[in-house]
């Protein structure tokens, strides 16, 4: 049994496996399948200052080895989260991390401030990269200046671990990562979904109500891996890797590329118990290769 503990800045994780926001609800939806307390962390559904209805149906289209979604940050707002959801998740021993989204800097700040007061939430993941929000979301994440502004503003009010989630829909993701680091982020996580599109040729109509949406699943893994590798070399803060991870080997690859921890997203839909298996598979890999600690493989890629 290898030592699976890792960390994201001050945040200690029992192991590197976390769940990606928007794919695991508030964790409780998967409690019949996975012992949530075994996970390194659960990143709960994107939370905004106010209630959002999200986009119209249809919001999902399956694509080869992947899927597109256009959920559009449907959630009941941060007050509802604090009053009704937080009490149901606060006693889990895993790291419950809240993904924070917004459409204006003031909204991000106000939401982060509310979450900062919640004792059992040790970190937030700032979503500056959701491609579905017409105003805001995308704009902050696609320029270094926008990323720096929103991260700096949130940093002023948030004193726990601040992870910034990056969009892959940019010319140079390392530039955005460096901007987030300069603005005080403790970590960056990547990649969010890739902007994509699907068409029903028979009906000559788009498959999503929003025409375009965010692509995820195994098909995006090579792109995610490449970006994690580039960003890990560009910043000093820890990197959290995600994008198409479905098994332990995928997770190991992201860590070799430089990730200190990983997130599992779309794979939860295919096998709701997959996160537990990934923990076991990481451990088996470490034992097989004689590594005493999972930390030994972070950035251990030989090129």
């Amino acid at each position: 049994m290898a030592d699976l503990r890792t960390s994201i800045g001050k945040l200690e994780l029992a192991n590197p496996v976390m769940t990606a926001s928007g794919t695991f609800g508030y964790g409780t939806e998967f409690a019949d399948f996975v012992d949530l307390d075994r996970l390194g962390g659960v990143i709960v559904k994107g939370t905004t200052l106010y209630h959002r209805e999200g986009n119209s149906y249809p919001r999902m289209a399956e694509t080869p080895a992947g899927m597109l979604n256009a959920v559009g940050l449907q959630n009941k707002g941060v007050d509802y989260f604090c009053e009704h959801i937080y009490p149901t998740i606060k006693d889990y021993r895993t790291n419950m991390i809240v993904n924070v989204s917004g459409s204006a800097i003031e909204d991000y700040v106000a939401t982060a401030e509310r979450i900062n007061a919640l004792e059992a939430i040790p970190a937030i993941e700032l979503n500056i990269s959701c491609p579905n929000v017409k105003q805001g979301g995308m704009a902050f994440g696609v320029t270094a200046k926008g990323a720096e502004e929103v991260v700096r503003a949130v940093r002023q009010v948030y004193d726990k671990t601040l992870i910034v989630k990056l969009s892959p829909n940019v010319t140079d993701i390392t530039e955005i990562a460096r901007a987030a680091e300069a603005a005080g982020a403790d970590s960056v996580s990547l990649i969010n979904t890739l902007l994509g599109m699907a068409i029903d040729a028979e009906r000559r109509r788009p498959l999503l109500s929003t025409v375009t949406g965010g692509m995820s699943g195994p098909a995006v893994k090579p792109i995610a891996l490449r970006m994690v590798w580039q960003v890990a070399k560009a910043v000093k803060i820890p990197v959290v890797g995600l994008g198409g991870i479905t098994n332990g080997t995928d997770a190991i690859e992201f860590m070799l590329a430089g990730a200190s921890a990983i997130e599992v997203g779309t794979a939860n839909f295919i096998d709701p118990a997959v996160t537990g298996k990934i923990i076991d598979e990481i451990n088996a890999y470490l034992d097989r290769h004689g590594f005493a600690s999972v930390r030994d493989i972070i950035g251990a890629l030989e090129v």
């Binding site: 019949d32 839909f269 709701p272």
Partner: protein, 258 residues
């Protein structure tokens, strides 16, 4: 209800007409309790174009035989893969999912079960459960032609079956909402599953007749447990997940124009 991920064994995969397959599934261990109207998510393997599980409604659950029946319409690569299964094959299934139909509290209520196309599937198990509790269901099943009518003899075990086909080959010609039984008899509860235009028409008829009506929806879904928020239906309480809050809804809750 607790949900399970189970490897079930195919007892038999029966072709039903050209467009459907009936999967009879079992397990070494007793299958968990399942309610009529609930569904399962089937893992589809070995097809590169299929990533997500396929939601399939529970056609029947036979506790004594420890058997789960799925009636699958062959539509795309995922369902066509299911048609290649043979006796002894293993199928990975997440179940039971969703809420299920509300069984009547009053046993004197006469329920009408209206199905169209593959939407007839969950109505068999609902009919079985109604019959068990001493309520005789009336089935009204519709299809375009005689080729899409399935399992009629199975439905007849539990109650009278009325049929409409659009080409008039079997039963009365036309749509389910045009069947003469609706004018002839009184019903106290309607349950329906099928193509959305049919369910809307049934809901409109039920509302007009002042009869409570539940519909089972089949919005495209990914997770099946209320996490991804992809399969939402617009209701009077906003967007809700069909996989978790449904698939069965009272028509009073939906934002349908009826």
């Amino acid at each position: 209800m607790k949900k399970y991920i189970l490897d079930l064994t195919v007892r038999e995969a029966l072709a039903v007409g050209k467009q459907f397959v009936l999967l009879r599934l079992t397990s070494e261990n007793p299958l968990p309790e399942m309610l009529p109207g609930q569904f399962v998510e089937v893992r589809v393997d070995e097809t590169p174009s299929v990533l997500l599980r396929r939601p399939i409604s529970i056609h029947y659950y036979d506790k004594d035989a420890n058997e789960l029946g799925l009636l699958v319409q062959l539509i795309g690569n995922g369902t066509r893969w299911m048609a290649t299964l043979r006796s002894g094959d293993v199928l990975n299934v997440v179940l039971p999912l969703g809420n299920g139909f509300t069984l009547p509290a009053d046993k004197t209520v006469r329920p009408l079960l209206v199905g169209g196309g593959v939407g007839v599937a969950p109505l068999l198990y609902l009919g079985m459960r109604l019959k068990e509790m001493g309520v005789t269901p009336t089935f009204l099943l519709g299809s375009r032609t005689e080729n899409e009518l399935m399992q009629i003899a199975e439905f007849e075990k539990y109650g009278p079956v009325y049929i409409t086909t659009e080409n008039g080959a079997v039963g009365e010609q036309g749509y389910v909402t045009q069947h003469s039984v609706l004018a002839r008899e009184q019903f106290g509860q309607v349950y329906t599953c099928g193509p959305k235009p049919m369910m809307v028409a049934v809901a409109r008829w039920a509302k007009g007749a002042g009869v409570p009506c539940e519909v089972s929806l089949e919005n495209k879904m990914a997770c099946g447990v209320g996490a991804c928020l992809c399969c939402v239906e617009d209701t009077k309480e906003g967007n809700v997940c069909v996989c978790k809050e449904g698939p069965v809804f009272s028509i009073d809750k939906l934002s349908w124009q009826i």
